[in-house]
């Protein structure tokens, strides 16, 4: 209760202090420093108005500088020093050490996997739900329910999904849904349908959608600047790699010999456990994608859709050829926003596997180094890696925001 009282006092002091600061600093400026009366009234008012914005901005700018600006440079500095040697400058030694650790490369590989799968699935599901619920009467209730996981903490969601992935020894009733469903498969027709045909269908449609998006990006805009061509080419190469990857996985699925009838400990299956963790984030982020994309779909001019229908387009054509191209900028925004969340994902991995069984990701690797190994140098180096991965999005955002303001 002491802490609660302290909290209340902090709210009162904090808010009162802020308001008091703003009020009295304005008063001081107007009455004492540059009074709006006397011989220099006009000059003084101008002077006061030049200073006033900074009075308003000072607390925010100060907090931003201390809590976000300074740490960026300090982390960079820390990543070049060694704590055990009293903070001596060691050049790139920390980076070298980090690059030689298999756990780091595991984290990088997993992070790349997360970066592809989670934004793609969340955006895809979000778009699907947004389109399906657009015209049905109870759409808003459906959206509300799919949006709900946004309010649930990553830790809470981890508990929820750990129950789903729970395993009991063979012979007992399974209490995890996934194992209960799994034990229902015996290798018959249903098993082939759901565990072979269905994944193949999903992989195929993933490849198709990715290729289609790449094609849209390739065609979009008639910019001739070499930079844009390079970006476009990079995207196309990346997509080609994704398509090859998914076709390879299809081959893998057809060949796989599944251990029917044995309960699986899902979170300890190397490689596949990553996907079981990703499901948690997809479950949370789909609602976000849906809300934004649903608003974008509503914003599409009706005439374009009507014209397409009059010309005899079927619903699929209307969706892919009329609607999707028009909301493509929003899709990109949603995609990048989820990408940012993915880069920082920590709680889910920390709570569910703590990076064991080859599920390490960068943010958890960093936490491990900082607070368990107490190695601030390598920890800071991995934080800088996260920053480097984020920076293209940072530049793109700033560039867009500036363009918009002009």
């Amino acid at each position: 209760m002491d802490a609660a009282f302290l909290g209340l006092a902090t709210v009162v002091i904090g808010v009162g202090g802020c308001l008091g600061y703003f009020y009295f600093s304005n008063l001081f400026l107007d009455k004492v420093l540059y009074p709006a009366s006397g011989p220099n009234a006009g000059h003084n008012i101008n002077r006061a108005n030049q200073i006033r914005p900074w009075l308003f901005l000072f607390p925010a700018v100060f907090a931003l500088a201390v809590y976000l600006g300074y740490p960026v440079f300090e982390t960079l500095r820390l990543s070049l020093t060694d704590r055990d040697q009293g903070g001596a400058f060691v050049g790139l030694a920390n980076y070298n050490q980090m690059l030689s650790e298999p756990k780091f490369w595991e984290a990088m590989r997993n992070n790349m996997l997360w970066l592809i799968v989670v934004p793609a699935c969340s955006t895809g599901f979000g778009l699907l739900v947004a389109q399906l619920t657009d015209r049905i009467a109870w759409g808003s209730i459906a959206k509300s329910i799919i949006f709900m996981p946004m309010a649930i903490s990553f830790v809470g969601a981890s508990v929820i999904f750990k129950l789903i992935y729970d395993t009991r020894p063979a012979g007992q009733d399974q209490i995890g849904v996934l194992n209960a469903v799994w034990m229902g498969f015996e290798g018959g027709f249903g098993s082939v349908l759901f565990l072979k045909a269905f994944p193949i269908l999903i992989l195929l449609s993933f490849a198709a959608v990715v290729a289609y998006v790449a094609w849209l990006i390739w065609r979009s805009g008639r910019t001739t600047s070499p930079l844009m061509w390079i970006v476009k080419a990079a995207i196309v190469i990346f997509v080609a790699w994704l398509v090859i990857l998914s076709l390879g996985s299809i081959l893998g699925v057809t060949r796989a010999d599944l251990p029917y009838g044995e309960p699986q400990t899902w979170l300890t299956l190397p490689f596949y456990n990553n996907f079981f963790l990703m499901v948690v984030l997809i479950w949370i982020q789909t609602g976000f994608a849906m809300v934004i994309l649903s608003a974008a779909l509503r914003g599409i001019p009706e005439e374009t859709v009507e014209a397409a229908i009059v010309d005899g387009a079927n619903p699929l054509q209307v969706f892919f050829k009329i609607k999707v191209p028009q909301i493509l900028p929003t899709i990109v925004v949603v995609w990048t926003t989820i990408t940012l969340v993915v880069l920082k994902v920590f709680d889910i991995v920390f709570a569910m596997t703590n990076g064991q069984w080859q599920t390490q990701v960068l943010a958890n690797y960093m936490f491990d180094k900082l607070f368990r190994a107490n190695d601030w140098g390598v920890g800071s180096a991995s934080a800088i890696v996260i920053m480097l991965l984020v920076s293209p999005i940072l530049v793109w955002n700033v560039w867009n925001a500036r363009k918009e303001m002009k």
Binding site: T10, G14, P59, Y70, A142, I145, P149, S153, A383
Partner: protein
């Protein structure tokens, strides 16, 4: 427009069914946890939660009442009578039963089992039994009964009682709940005040460097807070704040500011210029314009950000772990307590489910009550 789907009834049905399927898929995990939190540990670990919703068949082991205290003489025989469920399971019916775990279906309900010597046992469908035998046979411990029963759904508030209202339970969530609240409220309110003034300056005051500042705010919006952990912890330890509430409030304030400024500035820019200029002509100072006109008009944006910041600080684990929780464990927050329970009580789902639901409940209420503002904030906050 409506004829896209409306012209084909099959298509409309397909849409309805697939939306329903998706909604169920999304709701299913949370419902599982909710249902589990109302079941006892034994129930959770022996059957899936989906079985708890309807009447379920289950196998149970029970014992008839203690013969030495309950037996009644009947001629030269002794009899123990009573109900095998002993009030523990309500409204259950026995399908088959037996006296050995290997032959659980040896007898139908109502049948009389001939045991050793003159000993007999009858168990009826509703659980009433008659155990009869000689002095020697009806003594010692009560006869065990293995039965296959059908029990109606049964839920209990025991878990919530234990996790919230039992002061002796040192794994209880009450302390963590109030700690979380203590972290959340100042960490939500203070950034709003600071950001609102800055946003007004960035939206309605003219000064050199404004565009640059806005660009910096947009840039800081995506800076991962992982970068800030060590330098800030060092700073806090260096200037004497140490690990504690003050540190976590300051950290949350700093990390929340970019979004707050961005959201509020975007909203304030859209307010009608006339109102502000008229007020200026009438002699209002910037401070008055801000408090009397801008703040009340910006309520929707303030509410949007407040919800974001509330959800984010309530659900946060990383910032609390780094800036708040010290070795004493007195300042643990709910998310941290749950991760610790996951480590120590990994199999005790009644504890985990209840703890998780206690921490989820408040954000869910806020979410459903203020969804409108959350959606608005999301739409304004994603950088276009």
């Amino acid at each position: 427009m409506d004829n896209i789907a409306g012209s084909k009834p099959t298509l409309t049905w397909a849409v309805h069914i697939s939306v329903l399927a998706l909604v169920c898929l999304w709701l299913f995990p949370t419902v599982g946890l909710l249902v589990s939190s109302f079941r006892t540990g034994d129930q959770i670990s022996t059957s899936g939660w989906w079985n708890a919703l309807g009447t379920a068949d289950q196998n149970v082991v029970m014992r008839v009442a203690d013969p030495d205290e309950n037996r009644v003489a009947e001629g030269d025989m002794f009899v123990v009578e009573g109900n095998i469920f002993d009030g523990e399971i309500q409204g259950a019916t026995i399908l088959v039963w037996g006296t050995s775990s290997r032959a659980i279906d040896a007898y139908q309900a109502g049948e009389t089992a001939e045991l050793k010597g003159t000993e007999t046992l009858t168990v009826a469908t509703d659980g009433t039994y008659t155990w009869k035998g000689s002095d020697d046979e009806i003594s010692g411990r009560g006869q065990r009964v293995f039965a296959s029963i059908t029990a109606p759904p049964e839920f209990t508030f025991e878990n919530y009682d234990a996790m919230l209202f039992d002061p002796a339970n040192n794994e209880g969530m009450t302390k963590a709940f109030f700690n979380t609240l203590t972290v959340t409220i100042p960490a939500t309110i203070i950034p709003i005040v600071i950001a609102a003034f800055a946003a007004y300056a960035l939206a309605w005051m003219d000064f050199p460097g404004r565009a640059l500042l806005i660009a910096i705010v947009v840039g800081l919006l995506v800076v991962p807070l992982q970068l800030a952990l060590i330098p800030l912890l060092k700073l806090h330890l260096g200037i004497g704040i140490g690990k504690g509430y003050l540190g976590v409030w300051l950290a949350h304030t700093g990390f929340g500011l970019p979004l707050a400024i961005y959201l509020l500035r975007n909203y304030m820019v859209g307010l009608p210029r006339d109102i502000i200029e008229n007020a200026k002509v009438d002699g209002a100072s910037d401070f008055q314009i801000f408090t009397k006109i801008i703040l009340p008009l910006s309520f929707p944006a303030l509410a949007s950000f407040a919800i974001f910041q509330f959800l984010w600080t309530w659900n946060d684990l990383l910032v609390a772990k780094v800036f708040l929780i010290d070795a004493s464990g007195q300042t643990t927050v709910m998310t941290n307590q749950i991760t610790e329970l996951l480590g120590t009580r990994g199999g005790n789902w009644e504890i985990l489910a209840t703890a998780a639901f206690v921490s989820i409940a408040v954000p869910l209420v806020v979410f459903f009550a203020m969804q409108r503002y959350l959606v608005r904030g999301l739409l304004a906050g994603s950088v276009k």
